[in-house]
């Protein structure tokens, strides 16, 4: 305790404590609750249920277009959202196509790893039940217009270099009219202008799984019907994983559920620390005023 700290009042010392103490306490909270995976009641946001019901009633003869654009930074949130939805699609035998962008090649690699893992477990075949396109340059709306009008002509090959024409599943999916739902998993759901160039033009429903930060910008679009579902952060992933587990599709607990149970206590720690520091400020002000009168 430095000399200058000693004569300060107790509340001032609390208010301006050394950040290393905070880091240490926070690390303890996270490590303890990481070891002890506490079973928590997973929240149930409205828009997660709406996306689940929509995938439950999707027509089997159309495909789902998944835009996998999340990066290494938001694996904690978006990987759970991506994995839970493809497990649900596999269990309902709905075919899906995964689009990736050259501006974020990590999304392609991470998506590929998750896809291979889940396909191996649910014995699905690349080219018959799912396909991953090769990366496309995100040049804004003009790219989406060409993609919507002619998928084969624009994408040309899948990630393994096979022509889309020879892939058995792609025979009856040529334009956006054969797509029943677009689902974008990314840090920022608005990064690719699906709403301006595809959803409002062809009426294809659009759902989004986004990092917590950007999910708050999605609510005006949910209210106006331009977005038909939203998975917000790790909590959204956990809610969808709970539904998938209850439907008996996969026994293992998902990434979102594990993250969310530790995150609850971390959030509680941050909220309590903010309240303490504000309380300390009021107390030291109050003591200061009492000392002056």
């Amino acid at each position: 305790m430095t000399e200058e700290n000693k004569n300060r009042s107790f509340w001032d010392r609390v208010q301006f404590c050394d950040p290393r103490i905070l880091y240490a306490l926070f690390a303890v909270v996270v490590i303890v609750f990481e070891m002890v995976q506490v079973k928590m009641p997973v929240p149930n946001p409205v828009w997660v249920g709406k996306l689940y019901d929509r995938i439950e009633n999707l027509p089997p003869d159309k495909a789902v277009l998944i835009d996998c654009d999340y990066g290494a930074g938001n694996r904690g949130e978006c990987e759970g959202q991506f994995k839970a939805v493809i497990q649900h699609l596999f269990s309902r035998n709905i075919k899906f196509m995964v689009v990736t962008w050259t501006t974020n090649v990590e999304g392609q690699k991470l998506g590929r790893q998750v896809l291979d893992e889940v396909a191996k477990k649910m014995n699905k075949v690349d080219g018959e039940d799912y396909v991953m396109f090769q990366a496309i340059v995100n040049a804004g709306g003009v790219t989406l217009q060409s993609l919507a009008k002619d998928i084969h002509g624009f994408v040309v090959k899948d990630i393994n270099g096979r022509d889309l024409g020879d892939i058995p599943m792609m025979k009856n999916f040529r334009t956006i009219a054969d797509v029943s739902l677009i689902y974008r998993v990314a840090y920022s759901w608005g990064g690719v202008p699906w709403i301006g160039f595809v959803q409002s033009v062809y009426g294809t429903p659009l759902a989004a799984g986004s990092a917590g930060i950007e999910s708050s910008t999605a609510y005006p679009y949910l209210d106006s019907g331009q977005l038909c579902g939203l998975l917000a952060g790790a909590a959204g992933a956990a809610a969808y994983e709970k539904r998938v587990m209850e439907a008996g599709i996969t026994p293992e607990t998902g990434i979102g559920t594990k993250t969310v149970s530790v995150q609850s206590f971390a959030t509680l720690f941050v909220v309590v620390s903010i309240l303490i520091s504000n309380f300390a400020m009021f107390m030291s002000k109050w003591q200061g005023k009492r000392a002056r009168t």
Partner: protein, 278 residues
């Protein structure tokens, strides 16, 4: 004295973590989840997986060491990350984009034209060579004299962006405006079978929504209405709404950052130190 006490603390902590890690190495062979993980990532054997996990853990620690002081350990891994990221995206663009979405179709079109004559789609594909020529103009920015030539490619993209901005904007704007037409006192027709209280709550919610949008719109007026009491009053209400929206943004920002850190801690403890459940 203070500095040396801090140093001892970190050394003790480091040794403790290293001990757990080495202890983990001995147990790694026997844990079933580790074998499953090796099969999932289809790595040749356990040794390669453990080496990969060790390097990943060291790079995490290097990043977190930047919190205290910028050190050569961090700079090495930062330059390694920069190299990997740039190399990977350029390899993807070269192979998946330029080679197979541009060169291959053009080659096929030329072969097609040679065999059975011109068709409109082949001509369009061959005309894409022009795109490559313009793409090369980007590299004039390294020459002082012809610097402006590199701006041609930028202008084409800018012009296209500006032209398409009208479509993107109005396709988003119209549903947002019509979405704000809210029924402030819904009747039986709108909500069949709802009690009076439920309809009253829905009416209040819609009223709060419309007032919120209108007042925040007025908050961002700059050219008029400075003295008009209605505009002044409603922009004050607008500022309260914005405070709540900013609070929601702050709350959600925290959610994202925490889950990123927890995912990293999960990796370090579950896959590296093998002390928590995979």
């Amino acid at each position: 004295m203070q500095k040396s006490k801090g140093k001892i603390f970190w050394i003790v902590l480091g040794v403790l973590v290293l001990a757990i890690a080495v202890w983990g190495e001995f147990r790694a062979g026997s844990i079933p989840q580790v074998a499953a993980r090796v099969k999932d990532l289809d790595l040749p054997n356990l040794g390669v997986y453990r080496l990969q996990t060790w390097i990943a853990a060291l790079s995490c620690i290097a990043v977190y060491s930047f919190l205290f002081k910028e050190n050569p350990f961090y700079r090495f891994f930062e330059h390694a990350l920069l190299g990997c990221a740039t190399g990977y995206s350029c390899a993807v663009v070269m192979r998946q984009n330029l080679y197979s979405q541009w060169l291959v179709p053009i080659k096929k079109a030329i072969v097609n034209v040679a065999q059975n004559g011109w068709t409109s789609s082949d001509a369009a594909t061959i005309a894409l060579i022009l795109a490559g020529v313009i793409g090369l103009l980007w590299y004039f920015q390294y020459s002082k004299k012809y610097f402006w030539v590199s701006r041609i490619a930028m202008c084409i993209s800018l012009g296209a962006g500006a032209g398409l901005a009208f479509k993107d904007t109005f396709n988003q704007l119209i549903p947002q405006i019509t979405g704000t037409f809210k029924n402030v006192c819904p009747s039986e027709y709108v909500m069949p079978g709802a009690t009076l209280m439920e309809r009253f709550y829905m009416g209040c919610e819609n009223f709060i929504f419309v007032i919120g949008t209108v007042s925040v719109l007025m908050y961002f007026f700059f050219a008029f209405g400075n003295k008009n009491p209605i505009v002044k009053g409603s922009s004050k209400i607008g500022r309260w709404y914005l405070m709540i929206a900013l609070g929601a943004f702050f709350g959600n920002t925290f959610m994202s950052r925490l889950s990123a850190l927890i995912e990293r801690v999960h990796f370090l403890m579950a896959e590296w130190l093998l002390i928590s459940q995979m």
